[in-house]
C-alpha cells in the first residue's frame, strides 16, 4: 500500500485525540503509551503518513522506530471507526511499505543542538526531541502545516520540569506553547486563526505525561495535572459515585478550564468558569510558580474584554487544578422534548432554566442528535433527512433531572421521550435509515403533529417496533471485520444510556466524520430575541459563502440570564477554496455578532486564563457602531491581510 493510497484519509484526519483515551474499554495503543510523542499514536501516524506523502518532511532514523513500534493490534481501528469511521492501520501499512521501499542510506540521523541537549537534561533523553519526523506529526494539531520554523517537542512530567523548560526558552529567546490533547488546535489551525493560535518556531510542551488525579471524596473535589482528559477525570470521579463537569471526552481539563471555562450541558446547575474550580497552580512567562490561593499574586481574574481581547495563546501554564465534583442523584433520568422549531424549544428550555430544573439542560439540534447517536455518517445523514422531512424533529430540549422534576417537565412539555426511546433510536438507527421514504414514515408525516404521533401518540409502538433495535442489526452496515466487536460494544448498557453518554461525552467528535468544522457562537443574554438574532448572524455568513452551517447546542447559564450557543460551519479543510470561504464566513460572523448588544463571540472568551466569567461578560458589550465595525474590518486586514490572501 502506498502513502498516496491513503492520502484522502490521512489528509482529513481531524486530530480529535480520542485514540489516546481508553474510551471503549479496548485499552490504548501500546506504542503511544510507551513513547508518548504524538508520532507514536494513531493520530500522529496518520499525520506522518500525510506529511511524507506530500513531501513536507524527509525521513529520519526515527521513522523506522516509529513504524516498527506498531504491532498492528487493531485497537486504533476500533476506536477511530467508532468516532470518525477511519482506519489508522491503513496508514500504518502504508508507512511500513514506504519504509521498506527506502534504501537504508535514506534514513538520516538528526543532529542534536544545544537546545535539545538542555531539554533532554531536564526531562530525560526519551522525552525531548528536535527530530523532524516527530515534529511533523504535530502539524495541524499545534504546528501549522508547512511551517518552516525550528521546533522542539518536550514532554515534562513535573511542574519543576516545566519551569526549567520555560527558563530554557527564555534564555534562548524562543517562544513556547503548551499542548494538551491538541483538539482545539485541530479545529482552529485549519482557519485564519492559525497564526494567532500558535507559534512560528520554538518549544512545544506536550503535557501528556502529567496524568496525576487525586479525588477527595470528603471535600468532593479532584486535583488533577494538565495531561488529564475529561474522560479520565470522569472515570475517576465515577469510582466515588461523583461527577465532574467536564467537556468532550478527549479534551484536557486544565486547558479547557483555562481556555473556555468548561461550558457543558451540566452548566445549568454546576455553573461555568470559576464555578468549576477552587485552586490552581500555574507558571507564568517568567517561569514563576503561582497559586490562585496565594494572597499576594496580581489579580488572576482580571481580563481584557471585547474586540481587542482576542488572544488564543494562554498566558500561563496550569500545572494543577482543584475542581469541584458533584454528587450523582440516585434517581436521575433523561428526558427529551422534541420540537419542530427553535423558538418553541427555547421557550421551554428557558422556563426550565429559570426554575432551575435539569441538572443537565440544553437545546440540541437535529444535526447533533442524529450525528451523535448514529454509528456511521451515512446513517446519520439518512436519519437527519427522516427527522426533518417526516418526523419534523428539528430541535430537542435535552434534560437530565431527578424523578421529581421529571414530572414537572412532563407537565410542561407537549410531548417527550426518555432513555428507552433513545436506546431504540441508537440501536435502531440503521433500520430507521433504511426506512427512508417508507410508507410508515409518509403516514407519520401526514399526521397533524408528527412529533406527537411518533413520541406521544398511538404510533409510538409501531415506530419503536419498526426500528427493530438490536446491536446485530445496527452493525450490518459497518466494515465486516469490525462487526463482531461493535455488536459486543453496543450490547453494553452504557453505550445506549443517555446519562452515561452525557457524562463521558465520547460522541461529539462524530461531527468530524465527514468534514472538519469550525465552531461559531459564544455568550449572550438569555432572552429569546437576542438568541434568534445571533443564530441569524451565524446563519447568514454560512449562506453567503456557501458553507454547510448548522445550529449545534445551546445551554442556559445562571438560571437563564445568559446563554452559550454553538453553531458550526462544516467544510472540507483539505480544499483551499472551502477554507477561504469559511475564513470569510468567520470574519463576517464576528462582524454580525459584534453588532448585537451583549454578545461575545467564543474566540473572544478564549485563553483569558482562570478568569471570572463576570470579567469577560460584564459589562455587556454595547454592540458596535458602524464606525467601530469599520475599524474592526481594518483590524482584521492588519492581522490577516486582505481576503485574497486567506
Amino acid at each position: 500500500m502506498k502513502l498516496s493510497d491513503v492520502l484522502e484519509t490521512t489528509k482529513k484526519e481531524p486530530h480529535c485525540g480520542l485514540c489516546k483515551i481508553d474510551f471503549l474499554g479496548t485499552s490504548v495503543c501500546s506504542a503511544g503509551k510507551k513513547h508518548g510523542f504524538v508520532a507514536y499514536w494513531p493520530e500522529g501516524r496518520m499525520e506522518l503518513a500525510r506529511a511524507l506523502a506530500e513531501k513536507e518532511v524527509e525521513p529520519t532514523e526515527t521513522l523506522r522506530e516509529i513504524v516498527n513500534s506498531c504491532n498492528l493490534c487493531g485497537i486504533c481501528d476500533r476506536q477511530c471507526y467508532f468516532v470518525t469511521q477511519r482506519r489508522p492501520t491503513q496508514a500504518q501499512h502504508a508507512l511500513q511499505d514506504y519504509l521498506k521501499s527506502l534504501p537504508p542510506a535514506a534514513l538520516k540521523p538528526t543532529p542534536e543542538d544545544d537546545i535539545v541537549k538542555e531539554l533532554r537534561a531536564i526531562v530525560g533523553d526519551n522525552f525531548a526531541t528536535n527530530d523532524p519526523i516527530i515534529i511533523a506529526s504535530y502539524q495541524r494539531s499545534i504546528i501549522k502545516q508547512k511551517s518552516s520554523g525550528k521546533f522542539y517537542i518536550v514532554m515534562p512530567k513535573t511542574t519543576e520540569e516545566i519551569i526549567a523548560i520555560i527558563n530554557v526558552a527564555n534564555a534562548h529567546k524562543i517562544p513556547y506553547l503548551p499542548r494538551g490533547n491538541g483538539t482545539f488546535f485541530g479545529v482552529v489551525l485549519q482557519t485564519l486563526l492559525a497564526e494567532p493560535a500558535t507559534i512560528e518556531q520554538g518549544i512545544i510542551i506536550d503535557l501528556w505525561r502529567m496524568k496525576g488525579i487525586e479525588i477527595d471524596p470528603v471535600s468532593i473535589t479532584a486535583t488533577i495535572e494538565p495531561g488529564v482528559t475529561s474522560f479520565e477525570l470522569q472515570k475517576a470521579a465515577h469510582t466515588h459515585k461523583l461527577r465532574a463537569n467536564v467537556a468532550e471526552a478527549e479534551s484536557c481539563v486544565c486547558a479547557n478550564a483555562q481556555n473556555l471555562g468548561i461550558i457543558t450541558t451540566w452548566s445549568n446547575t454546576y455553573g461555568w468558569g470559576t464555578d468549576n474550580f477552587i485552586d490552581a497552580e500555574y507558571i507564568d512567562s517568567t517561569g514563576t510558580i503561582q497559586h490562585l490561593s496565594d494572597k499576594d499574586i496580581p489579580n488572576p481574574y482580571a481580563s481584557e474584554q471585547g474586540l481587542l481581547s482576542l488572544s488564543l495563546i494562554p498566558s500561563v501554564i496550569v500545572t494543577k487544578l482543584t475542581l469541584k465534583l458533584h454528587q450523582i442523584l440516585p434517581d436521575e433520568e433523561a428526558i427529551f422534548v422534541p420540537f419542530n422549531n427553535l423558538p418553541d424549544a427555547l421557550d421551554l428550555a428557558h422556563e426550565l432554566a429559570q426554575r432551575n430544573i435539569g441538572v443537565s439542560l440544553a437545546v440540541l439540534s437535529r444535526k447533533y442528535l442524529t450525528e451523535f447517536i448514529s454509528p456511521t455518517h451515512e446513517i446519520a445523514e439518512d436519519f437527519n433527512y427522516i427527522a426533518e422531512k417526516y418526523l419534523k424533529l428539528n430541535y430537542v430540549v435535552d434534560i437530565i433531572c431527578d424523578s421529581y422534576t421529571k414530572k414537572i417537565v412532563e407537565e410542561l412539555a407537549p410531548v417527550s421521550f426518555g432513555s428507552e426511546m433513545i436506546k431504540s433510536l441508537i440501536l435502531g438507527s440503521s433500520k430507521l435509515a433504511s426506512m427512508k421514504d417508507s410508507s410508515l414514515l409518509k403516514m407519520i408525516s401526514e399526521e397533524e403533529d408528527p412529533l406527537k404521533a411518533v413520541f406521544g401518540g398511538p404510533m409510538r409502538k409501531h415506530f419503536e417496533k419498526g426500528l427493530a433495535n438490536s446491536p446485530k442489526e445496527l452493525v450490518k452496515g459497518m466494515d465486516e471485520d469490525l462487526r463482531d466487536f461493535f455488536e459486543k460494544l453496543y450490547s453494553k448498557p452504557e453505550l445506549t444510556d443517555p446519562i452515561w453518554l452525557h457524562n463521558f461525552r465520547i460522541l461529539p467528535c462524530r461531527m468530524e466524520r465527514k468534514h472538519m468544522w469550525m465552531y461559531r457562537g459564544g455568550y449572550m443574554p438569555g432572552d429569546k430575541k437576542t438568541i434568534l438574532k445571533v443564530v441569524d448572524a451565524l446563519e447568514k455568513p454560512a449562506q453567503q459563502y456557501h458553507i454547510d452551517g448548522a445550529f449545534g447546542f445551546l445551554s442556559y447559564l445562571e438560571r437563564g440570564k445568559l446563554a452559550h450557543l454553538e453553531y458550526d460551519y462544516y467544510y472540507d479543510h483539505t480544499d483551499p477554496e472551502a477554507r477561504k470561504r469559511v475564513n470569510k464566513a468567520i470574519v463576517e460572523s464576528w462582524r454580525r455578532q459584534f453588532a448585537i448588544k451583549g454578545v461575545t463571540p467564543l474566540e473572544f472568551i478564549c485563553s483569558k486564563g482562570l478568569h471570572r466569567k463576570e470579567h469577560i461578560i460584564y459589562p455587556l458589550l454595547p454592540g458596535l457602531s458602524e464606525e467601530e465595525l469599520g475599524h474592526f474590518e481594518e483590524l482584521i486586514e492588519t492581522l490577516f491581510g486582505g481576503e485574497d490572501t486567506w
Partner: protein, 135 residues
C-alpha cells in the same frame, strides 16, 4: 545601516514617515501618543523607551533612549515587550496587532481608541521597516 532604536534610526524613521506617509490617507489624521517599552536588549538586558506622538496625522515626536524622562511622557498607550518581538514588528515579520494577539506584547490604554488606530499604526510600521537596520 543604522542601529535599531538608536538616535540615527529615530531620525531616519521620522524623516521617512514625514516624506512618505500622507497625514489623512495613511495616518487617518490620528491623534495618539504611544510609549513602547523595549525590554531585554542584549548584551546586558537593558530597556529602551521608544516614544512616538501623532497630532492630526502629523508625526510630532519620535524619541528613543533609556532616559527615564521619556518614560514620563504622556502616552495614550503603553506597549511593553521583548527586544526580539520589536525586531519582528520592525522588520515586518509580525504586525503589532498580531504581537498583541500572541501575547508577545502587553498594551495598556483605551482599547476602542486602539482599534481606531490599528490601520494607521500598521502603515507607520510598514513605512519604517524600509530603513536599513542593524539589530
Amino acid at each position: 545601516m543604522v542601529k535599531f532604536l538608536s538616535q540615527e534610526w529615530a531620525e531616519q524613521a521620522k524623516k521617512k514617515v514625514l516624506t512618505e506617509l500622507d497625514k489623512a490617507k495613511d495616518l487617518k489624521n490620528m491623534n495618539a501618543a504611544l510609549l513602547n517599552v523595549v525590554q531585554n536588549i542584549p548584551p546586558d538586558n537593558k530597556t529602551i523607551y521608544y516614544y512616538v506622538k501623532f497630532t492630526g496625522g502629523n508625526l510630532e515626536e519620535l524619541t528613543t533612549g533609556s532616559d527615564e524622562a521619556i518614560k514620563q511622557k504622556p502616552a495614550d498607550f503603553i506597549v511593553t515587550g521583548d527586544y526580539t518581538t520589536f525586531i519582528q514588528i520592525n522588520n515586518g515579520q509580525l504586525s503589532s496587532a498580531m504581537a498583541l494577539l500572541k501575547n508577545r506584547v502587553k498594551m495598556t490604554g483605551n482599547k476602542m481608541k486602539a482599534l481606531s488606530i490599528t490601520k494607521p499604526i500598521d502603515n507607520y510600521n510598514n513605512c519604517i521597516k524600509g530603513i536599513q537596520t542593524e539589530y
